[in-house]
């Protein structure tokens, strides 16, 4: 074995020097570099995005409790290096002279907010600016709604119990104002020190005390796990990802885009590795036969092959990881300044994954053809046509694909996405293969009518048969990815960004009494606002599922408990609302009010473990309503339109005293009208989501840039496949061109023939790739991202052009040297 290792080392150095390993090594380095760069980057980006998402919570993690949280919580957080802020909130009536209004009082300490910034304005609904710090003791920042209701100017005095506070500014925005409709009352922000002095926090008051935490992802995650194991059921823990449906939806999608790019890159690189290994193995046939004729045993051949491959894996992984790190820092530089916080350092996991991937790829895709070398008949030294028995590649390749899928699952943690990518690639390869066989047959039939070069080129496509099909599959796959990147990617990203157009709603108006519905619509349209679409809105509590009270089936997660315990927003609709996609069951047609039906959002279904046909009973303002689950919807929450976890069929909630809600877009010039709106429609509550909308849009823009960059690697992997496919028939072409030139063909004729062959292959692959790209684009858009997708004829045009140009030109250029080398030398080297 020592002998084999030594020989492998020498052979490795020689093969590297002679360029024999170039394609295999190159494909491997691209795979590892892409994987580690994407891995390093996504881990850092997702941490940064998470930090940004934390703004919705004003922290990375938040604990809400009806009592004073145990002092150990804070001590532990400090010990783990987390920043901690305190927040006290409770409802209270505030007074200004004779006017009074129920408000949510928020007492904060100097550390608040841990994420994001407060914004204040000089006048209600006036232009706002970010501010650091909190109200000084004796002062308060009240929101526009409160000041409008109380008709109190900035500088006026506000009474809060025994406290008298001067309104120093208008509170325009606080990061955690959220979207939860929980804080329906207007807000006043005060210094916590004032509250501790007042009697407002005495027993009997409905005070929520919150601890806000921020720190590194690892520290926050570890602390969250620690706290989750200790906190009481009454204490609610929320992390940034579950703080807002809109933000969650946006971050999930951006992560999915990045992961998809990484997946496709690695899978394509695996194809390139497999193709390069095939050629490498076929080029070693003679060497192995010679070694055997000189007395080498099968074990020796096996030992040297495995050892050399291990060296390739190690060096490829090291070089790839180094390149990946370098590329990642380029990426970090590219998105510099886009994040408010500096990017956290990358974790080491991607480096290990890189090594694992290199080993898996080589073991799975390169080892089987190389192992086959053991079986090269030694008599090949005398008869060149003798080859090892054909490789049964099915089982080893399937095993390798499974191992690679497992690795990718570790990387992205999304089995559905991995399934789509692996299945998509395998399916595309299969379809491309079948279509390739058909096209090669057609080519054989039509070649008669073409000119000399074309005839030779097309004849070659037909004659090479299996090799041509393999090349068509490889070219087709790389062209599919190129087309997806060039055309469909833009459509997808545009479509995603279009889902949040400049005029997306930035204010929610809720609690609209039926009597106010029409006057409010007129009020808004008179001020140039688009006519609002009003959705009925009822608050209700879920009481039982299939007759079993909720107390008996309390979900384990905080979110699930919130669904089970808190009042839910219900609505009804005749048609499936836009932004909603049916995932289970059927939408109702002419429902019978006597058989009440309800539609649930997939989040609600998951948390409560519901299924179609379950009977849900609600307490709607003291009245009990039971409805059967008719279907499940996937809701796109980042559309900023009124959407509901629970939607009833029309007629069911008619008897309930409901109100309406709507969302509208108000530009800066229209915003001052809100002061008048609040005065004219006192029962209507206005919720400003402009800041949240801005954050979601920022995440989208940032993710779009990151995705573009990461797709650069996918492009490189696609080109690697292309290159490996061109290389796969290089030796054969070299021999053929030598023969043709020996027979008197000019260099030009041979080169034209090669160009014709590659162009024909490129055109065939281009047509197939365009079809594949269209179908994949549609699937990805509709199934994975829930976006609309329209078919585009330019994809076909692009496919034909890219096929003819990229494959034709690249193939010809890459083979040019082969054609140029002297026929004598080519023949001697064979």
């Amino acid at each position: 074995m020592k002998k084999a290792l030594r020989f492998a080392l020498v052979a490795f150095v020689r093969d590297v020097k002679s360029g024999e390993l170039a394609v295999l090594f190159g494909a491997l380095v691209i795979a590892v570099a892409a994987l580690t760069a994407v891995g390093f980057f996504t881990s850092r980006i997702s941490q940064a995005i998470r930090a940004q998402a934390g703004e919705v919570l004003a922290a990375d993690l938040r604990l809400d409790s009806g009592r004073i949280p145990a002092p150990g919580y804070e001590a532990e957080a400090h010990a783990r290096g987390l920043a901690v802020a305190h927040l006290i909130s409770f409802p209270s009536v505030v007074y200004a002279g004779d006017a009074s209004q129920l408000a949510t009082v928020l007492g904060v300490d100097g550390a608040y907010p841990l994420r994001g910034q407060l914004k204040i304005a000089a006048v209600p609904y006036g232009p706002a600016h970010p501010v650091t710090g909190i109200p000084a003791p004796g002062e308060a920042w009240a929101d526009s709604r409160l000041l409008a209701r109380l008709a109190l100017p900035v500088g006026g005095l506000l009474r809060l119990g025994a406290l008298e506070l001067r309104v120093a500014a208008v509170l325009d925005y606080r990061p955690d104002q959220g979207m939860g409709f929980a804080d329906l009352a207007p807000t006043v922000l005060v210094n916590a020190a004032d509250l501790e002095r007042s009697v407002l926090l005495g027993s009997g008051s409905r005070v929520t005390r919150s601890l806000l935490y921020a720190g590194s992802t690892e520290a926050v995650d570890a602390y969250a796990a620690w706290l989750r194991a200790r906190k009481s059921a009454a204490e609610r823990l929320t992390d940034a990802s579950e703080s807002s449906e809109q933000m969650k939806s946006a971050t999930e999608r951006s992560g999915r885009f990045l992961n998809l790019a990484a997946l496709v890159t690695v899978l394509l690189a695996a194809v390139a590795v497999a193709m390069a290994a095939r050629r490498y193995a076929s080029r070693r046939l003679d060497l192995v036969a010679l070694l055997k004729s000189l007395g080498a045993s099968q074990r020796f051949v096996l030992g040297t092959t495995v050892a050399e491959l291990a060296l390739v894996a190690l060096c490829g992984a090291l070089a790839g990881t180094a390149l990946g790190l370098l590329a990642e820092s380029g990426l970090a530089w590219l998105v510099r300044g886009l994040f408010k916080t500096s990017l956290p350092p990358p974790s080491l996991l991607p480096a290990w994954l890189g090594l694992g991937t290199a080993a898996t790829m080589l073991a799975g895709f390169a080892l089987p053809p190389l192992l086959q070398l053991r079986r090269v008949p030694p008599a090949r030294v005398l008869r060149h046509d003798l080859e090892p028995p054909p490789l049964r590649w099915g089982a080893p390749y399937l095993a390798a694909a499974a191992a690679l899928s497992a690795l990718l699952y570790v990387l992205v943690g999304d089995p559905r996405l991995v399934g789509y990518a692996v299945g998509g690639l395998a399916g595309s390869a299969l379809v491309l293969g079948m279509a390739g066989v058909a096209l090669v047959r057609v080519t054989a039939a039509v070649r008669g009518g073409a000119g000399a070069a074309w005839r030779y080129g097309l004849a070659n496509v037909a004659r090479r048969g299996r090799e041509s099909v393999v090349q068509i599959v490889a070219f087709g796959l790389s062209l599919t990815v190129l087309l997806l990147l060039a055309l469909v990617r833009n459509d997808l990203i545009d479509e995603w960004q279009r889902s949040l157009p400049p005029g997306a709603p930035n204010h929610f108006l809720i609690n609209i009494p039926p009597s106010d519905a029409r006057p409010l619509a007129e009020f808004l349209t008179a001020r140039g606002v688009a006519p609002p679409v009003l959705a009925p809105w009822v608050r209700a509590r879920l009481v039982s599922v299939n007759g079993q009270p909720m107390q008996g089936r309390m979900p384990k997660t905080d979110r699930g408990r919130a669904f089970a315990e808190r009042e839910q927003n219900l609505s009804w609709s005749e048609a499936l609302p836009p932004d909603n996609r049916l995932v289970e069951g059927a939408w109702w047609q002419h429902p019978d009010p006597a058989q009440p039906l309800v539609s649930v959002a997939s989040e609600f279904q998951d948390e409560l473990g519901l299924k179609i046909g379950d009977r849900l009973s609600f307490d709607v303002a003291g009245e009990s309503i039971t409805a059967t689950v008719a279907n499940v919807r996937k809701v796109r929450w980042d559309g900023f339109r009124p959407n509901f976890f629970l939607l009833f069929a029309p007629g069911v909630l008619d008897a309930s005293t409901g109100t309406f809600m709507t969302s509208v877009h108000l530009d800066d010039a229209q915003r001052p009208a809100l002061a008048e709106l609040v005065r004219r429609f006192p029962s209507v509550t206005v919720i400003d989501v402009a800041a949240l909308l801005g954050e979601v849009r920022r995440i989208m823009d940032r993710a779009a840039i990151a995705v573009e960059y990461v797709f650069g690697f996918t492009l490189t992997a696609g080109l690697a496949v292309l290159f490996a496919a061109i290389q796969s028939t290089r030796d054969e072409r070299r021999y053929e061109s030598a023969i043709l030139r020996t027979l008197g063909a000019s260099r030009r004729t041979v080169l034209y023939g090669v160009a014709a062959e590659f162009t024909a292959l490129g055109l065939l692959a281009g047509v197939l790739a365009a079809s594949a790209a269209s179908v994949i684009g549609w699937l990805v858009a509709t199934r994975l991202f829930g976006l609309h997708y329209s078919f585009d004829a330019t994809v076909w045009l692009g496919g034909l052009l890219a096929g003819a140009l990229i494959v034709g030109v690249a193939g010809t250029v890459a083979t040019r040297r082969v054609v140029r080398s002297s026929p004598m030398r080519s023949l001697r080297d064979v």
Partner: protein, 227 residues
């Protein structure tokens, strides 16, 4: 003493037209130190017979004894071990490893056999064929004749009992070919190596002590010459 014996060796292959007999019932024995030529027209089965004699391929029927060992009784690794210890090869197309220098090519069988003073012996062998000065050259930097001389050095460096040469001058001009043939016979005389040559060159065959003629896979004549 017999170093090689072929007993009723037959090779059949299946083809679309049915079973094809490449070599049919060939029997002969070769004495140690003898030089024999196997001649015959193209397609007469010379190279196939050579492959079976050297244990590179197995006969469909019959047996081959190399140094008294029956090749058909050994597995592929066993035959490889036997070759490593007792057999050398020279091929028509040289079969040098393109990524190895001349010296490294000669070292190859010594390394495979785990010989201790491999470097010294390889340089000696290269010097013996007059190519020590070009030991660092790669095959593509050598002429055809030089490549074949490297191949001869590689074949003799292990001091084999038997040397099989398949059309050793087939790719060379007559002057270079003569030089290569000279080298083969020098080694044959000096080391007592048995020489089995496959050739279609009458002049080369005549230099051998014995000439076997194959015709359509059958041994049509076995002539002991005066060489």
């Amino acid at each position: 003493m017999q170093v090689l014996e072929s007993r009723h060796v037959t090779k059949e292959v299946s083809s679309p037209e049915g079973t094809l007999t490449i070599v049919a019932d060939v029997s002969f024995a070769v004495e140690r130190g003898q030089s024999i030529a196997i001649i015959g027209p193209s397609g007469s089965g010379k190279s196939t017979l050579l492959a079976m004699l050297a244990g590179l391929d197995l006969p469909s029927r019959g047996t081959v004894l190399l140094n008294g060992t029956e090749l058909t009784s050994l597995d592929e690794d066993g035959r490889a071990r036997l070759r490593a210890g007792h057999v050398g090869f020279v091929f028509q197309s040289f079969h040098l490893v393109p990524s190895l220098t001349a010296l490294e090519n000669v070292l190859l069988p010594l390394e495979l056999g785990g010989v201790a003073d491999a470097q010294v012996r390889a340089r000696e062998a290269l010097a013996r064929v007059g190519l020590d000065a070009r030991r660092r050259h790669y095959p593509r930097q050598l002429s055809g004749g030089e490549q074949q001389r490297v191949a001869i050095a590689r074949a003799f460096v292990t001091r084999p009992d038997l040397l099989f040469a398949d059309e050793p001058t087939g790719n060379l001009d007559s002057v270079t070919g003569a030089r290569v043939v000279e080298l083969l016979f020098e080694f044959n005389r000096e080391l007592g190596t048995t020489l089995v040559l496959v050739t279609h060159e009458q002049s080369l065959a005549k230099r051998c002590q014995r000439v076997l003629t194959l015709d359509a896979g059958r041994l049509s004549s076995d002539v002991v010459g005066d060489a």
